[in-house]
Symmetry: D2
Subunit: 438 residues, 4 copies
């Protein structure tokens, strides 16, 4: 987590202050439940909230204590005792550190997921707005980077919308995976803590109860969570890559917003570079790189070992903060994206109508030519257009009409009729209805 | 996919024969729909099924054709034409190769997922049976590989059951991700093919319609699928690692079945090694290694490039075949696992009762000692037991009684009462009810 | 390893026949050494070579035996005994299976490395030839996909040459890492086998002696080997990506060879796609995906466990076969690459001379303007050129001359002099000398 | 990079202060060279050193400027101009930001590598000391976690020494990979900067000249660097895993140092856990997770894109800081490791002499039994010992003597002679000589 790529709201989830606040709430709610069960005095439970419920814990003091105890939760409890006084001894009864740490991580990841879902919602809104705006903006579709057949810029964005809509659903599922609470004591046996304590804390924190914890919440849940972030990051990379391609000098169909006073290069004053989407490409690699460590965290030894901890201390903040930053940046890019329909049209015309080659092929087969012959006939004319230099406008139709074998099957009018680009766009509304509803 | 780690049913999904059979069905169903729409003659559509519906396609012949066309779908269609005759020219009208290839991959992955779900069901059944059998088999719980407090072997297996039950749900979701059909033509615009063809083929093949394809089905779906397989593989590694630990010479609480005549080592006749679970550990690494390539496949260029294809040709079969093999092997290991309750008891007794240290700690705090003092008092006696050699049975209780500070708070009877292991198991039924239902 | 992406010579290294042949040689050489040491009869050692030295082992028979022994090396030795007769009992004296398996893997990986080095040599030769050919072929250099300043196509290839030259050196180092021999018996203690046996076998097989094996050769060696393959794969991806970019319809500065009769798309006869380099991009992902499993193989338990084995059975062949195929394919692409200097020139001219913006900036600062002012002056004119449509030839110079602030510092002749592209190429020979020698 | 897992010396390399200091040196040395070449006034070059050579740059001020320029190097140069005055305009002449950024990264990575090499040296020293100390401390060797044959604890450490010695050599090679300097201007053509400037800066900073840069230093170098760190991390995981295994309650052959006052668990006062080595296991996963992003950074578009930048901003510090911390922690663990030779002996005796099964097998074959028969004879007695409970001391020899088939070949004295453990250790000195020299 580096400041350059982090936003305050998400970063705050991972601050020591937030962590200690959540720890306190877990401990204090658990003590309430213990008081209800008659294990600890109700007055003590009340006093804890009263004296420390509004307190902000002293991170430096806790760090100082930890330097002697070498145990973070014990250091925290010691500090709480400094604030609360003797009633503090009723905290943490029958619990283990993992009860606090793992449930806290659940709260943090769930909050992080909520922000990420909101981020996706902003991105979806941007994609929808721009898709509607460019619903009928014709542009060449490219397979293999090579002109294929026309589509619209709106359809491109609709595809991205559908993809991020899936990502939203995945994220909601991933949030449910990790939003569990475990207050089950050493080895998860509830030997020294009543399961009703867990139920109470879960309820208060908006979590579900972990059915069977073994001192720790099982890490397949977290693995699934981070794997899902990796998928979302990859979708970010896809859309970022699309924009980078569209901004290439020779293409220039769209461009990241370039603010007045911005400098593209310290050396070359003429530059306007897609630096935001290139940055997003790199951020995607980072988030993706955190998936495998999360997967490797699953196979803890026996009821638990602590190898997962250092991994999560890093990837917990890093993956969520980076993805939050990336989603927000991507939403901004889409919202302000400069779109150049006239360049799209110019590029579309670049190959002199070749993008209708399939139509001609189909017409020839329907006119009785074998697919093989038709393919060869269309291809030989198409390749001739490829070779041409200069203005190729209309050249493909021209050559087709002059081809004896083709002329036998299709008259000039029929050929001309095939060069109406509206033909390619007739299903755009169907696609939009599928993606955005009627 | 190597024979040693593959099972015939799963491997068959990925054979050329199966692939060509699915291709044929996609093409023939599409032609039916085209016939219904009046695009091609109904008689032609019928003739295709009649002549090739029961045919087995000649893989070698198709390979031979591909060597000249350098295009697999064209080679296939050429071969179908050899079987069907002139009506074959009505196949593939308005479609692209990707319509066939991607929809075929969906069918293959969905079938593979069905087998994997069945594999998990077998594993779940085995885990449940053995968990019930050992519901009350007491065993030491270990955190950090160090004795902590007792649990039961059944609870260990219940944890694995809950984990694989989650994996089952994930797999069902992952299956839905990839079970989509795209018959949308070049660039996915439906310019040359009616969307109703797609709906018909989807229906016939048990798939859902891809809302917006861009000649290809978007690869975030496949990424999510393979990421899910990576999570499942990691759970396999966890359970395999548990068994490997339990079989260690010094522990020997459970052991892979060792058949008569089996040889553990070519050199050392005394060996009985957990080779199956070690193998599973390796297989988990393999499946996990396929997650990142699948994630990297998402960012295809523009409407599509073909970089995903070579990746999927390898990881499609490899990930599903390997995971199928691994799940089945793991189910077999669990079904036949040799469990040694007497060794579990012997190990439990190894530390002379130290596993009750928390109980003593809690009792002392409830008797009025501060948590800090109580901790110190219990720890100093515990460490003394650690140092002891030879038979430590009962030593911890003995030392506690002799400790003046402790004796002040707890009388010998109270201390003895804390060394009843049933105390630790009182929530076992609660946990079982959570995992397996009442 | 799938046939589509494998070449026979590399695939043969991983065939059962080759493996058994290497196993035999290890065993027979070891027996020779044992005979020299007087441990086994010299006549027996001689008889083994005589009877089985030229034999081809029956893979099916060995598989059949393994189905009962469940141990591959024992199955092999049993089969050798069927060929050799009673003298076979002197084979494998004091050895473990790992001695055979690990040393065999060393031989296989070393042979594979030799092929890969030869592949790189072919690629280097192709890159050098084409670099020399296009040493002075001017082309626009692009940063961020945006036109920057000119370079030559030869320099692009020289960069690739230098990169693969580094990869060659890395591969030579990686080969040395894994070319070790361990014949050290159970746990690697030489308790039952004299270290001189190991020295003899190593010598005969062209390997070095593993200083300390623990029954297995330590897997950090293999990790380094596969990590190196991952780096090489990434370089392949880089060069493949470059070509994919250059072949884009709007750019078309270079193009994969397209053979007569080839079909770019089953639907669109006009297509010529960079399918080979897209394929290489996918193959790079595959090889890269094998790095992490190899890294995870390092941490075997104690003196060894067998979790590495399944991983290596797959990635050993897959990584080397795939990389061999990819390097060869890439060499072929470079050798036959169609290069279009006239398109390079046309693209270079696209921005009306903007690629000289830095030169103007520097001239203005040297004429006394502050860097900030100069930057602003050049940028405002450059941005105006960006906005223009139609023919922009010479427009940048034109605008600069008309800019009052600039005109104060630079006269028209000075400005014109800055639009000589030879200026950018003056260090090409220096760069070539650095890369290819004088 | 989180404080908990970082050491000040390494962290300092990555501070903004250090970065700006290195940037300044690159710029100032380059200006010196430009002055020597007559491009800028010598007085200006001198003034720059004089006025800013000892300055500490104001990080906050630079950040403030960057918020308007949105360009870090321009912000830095602006700040330098605030300190230096008008002569500052002679800085950065003909250079690009990448010249500064990439060369700075080289300096940082080279310095980081130097610390890591020193870390490995400390670890090697610790391993050697402890290996010498326990050269003859007998302990059971384990394959598959199962007792195999004896070795010494010193040999275990010698293996680790040899592995980290290889890692040291790899790191030296990796350092050379990234210690290059590029001052080649836009697109790396030297159009606006003389190659002698690069040579001068390289010389001053202890770097070599990058033969062909394309505005950026090629990222295959960095990929190789981070891949090497990933291999080292995996070796750390191996040694950490060994210690975790040895500290298991049932094994307890070695143990991490446990300081007075340390608490193993907040709940269970009896715990002493291998938390440092578990932590190292997690840290290894983190470093390993950074390898793939580094590999993905290689395929930049054309002469450069900036997607690598965000990746390196994170993994540059994170990988080196984490690995530094891990190596140092591991060295500390080894230095203070508690070793329990008596427990090693007790464990060795656990199986009643079974670890000599191979010796008996070999003796029987040498006495004329077939390998198959001998294996069966030894195995049946070995399996009987496995089944036994209670004290198994001497049981294996006892059973062997009582086995009629064996007794025919080996008399009781011969059998007894095979249970001398010194037999297994006779090559220890040979191994030590190989690893540590004579």
């Amino acid at each position: 987590m580096i400041p350059r790529y982090s936003r305050p709201e998400m970063a705050a989830i991972w601050s020591p202050e937030t962590r200690f606040r959540i720890w306190f709430e877990i401990e204090a709610h658990a003590t309430d439940a213990l008081a209800d069960l008659g294990v600890v005095p109700k007055a003590a439970a009340a006093a804890i909230w009263e004296k420390a419920g509004g307190a902000s814990f002293d991170v430096e003091r806790i760090d100082e204590i930890e330097r002697t105890t070498k145990h973070d939760v014990i250091a925290f409890l010691t500090h709480v005792a400094e604030i609360v006084g003797p009633e503090a001894r009723f905290l943490h009864q029958g619990m283990t550190s993992s009860d606090v740490l793992d449930t806290c991580l659940s709260v943090q990841l769930a909050r992080a997921a909520d922000i990420l879902i909101a981020d996706i919602d902003r991105l979806l809104a941007a994609l929808k707005t721009r898709a509607m705006e460019h619903r009928h903006t014709i542009t060449i579709g490219r397979s293999h980077g090579i002109h294929a057949e026309p589509t619209t810029f709106g359809v491109k964005l609709a595809q991205a919308y559908a993809e991020f809509d899936r990502n939203r659903a995945r994220l909601v599922a991933a949030r449910a995976e990790i939003a569990t609470c475990a207050i089950s004591g050493a080895i998860g046996t509830f030997a020294n803590i009543d399961p009703r304590v867990e139920a109470h804390v879960a309820d208060k924190l908006g979590l579900t109860v972990e059915p069977v914890s073994t001192q720790v919440i099982p890490r397949d849940r977290h693995a699934m969570f981070f794997a899902t972030l990796g998928v979302i990051a990859s979708s970010i990379e896809r859309l970022a890559t699309e924009i980078r391609h569209l901004q290439r000098t020779e293409v220039l169909e769209a461009e990241e917003y370039f603010s007045p006073g911005q400098k593209g290069s310290s050396a070359m004053p003429h530059k306007r570079n897609p630096v935001l989407t290139e940055n997003l490409t790199g951020l995607a690699r980072l988030v993706r790189g955190m998936v495998t460590p999360a997967l490797e965290n699953v196979a803890l030894w026996h009821e638990r070992d602590i190898s997962h901890s250092s991994v999560e201390r890093m990837i917990g903040p890093d993956a969520t903060v980076t993805l939050d930053f990336a989603l927000t940046r991507l939403a901004g890019v889409i919202e302000k994206l400069l779109v150049y329909p006239e360049n799209m049209q110019r590029n579309l015309d670049l190959l002199g109508g070749l993008h209708n080659s399939q139509r001609v092929l189909l017409a020839l087969t329907q006119a009785g030519m074998s697919r093989e012959e038709a393919y060869a006939a269309v291809q030989r004319n198409a390749m001739q257009v490829w070779q041409m230099r200069g203005n190729r406008t209309g050249q493909f139709a021209c050559l087709l009409k002059a081809d004896a074998e083709i002329a036998e099957k299709l008259n000039p009018q029929a050929i001309d009729a095939m060069f109406d680009d509206a033909y390619h766009l007739k299903a755009v509304d169907t696609i939009f209805a599928r993606v955005f509803g009627a």
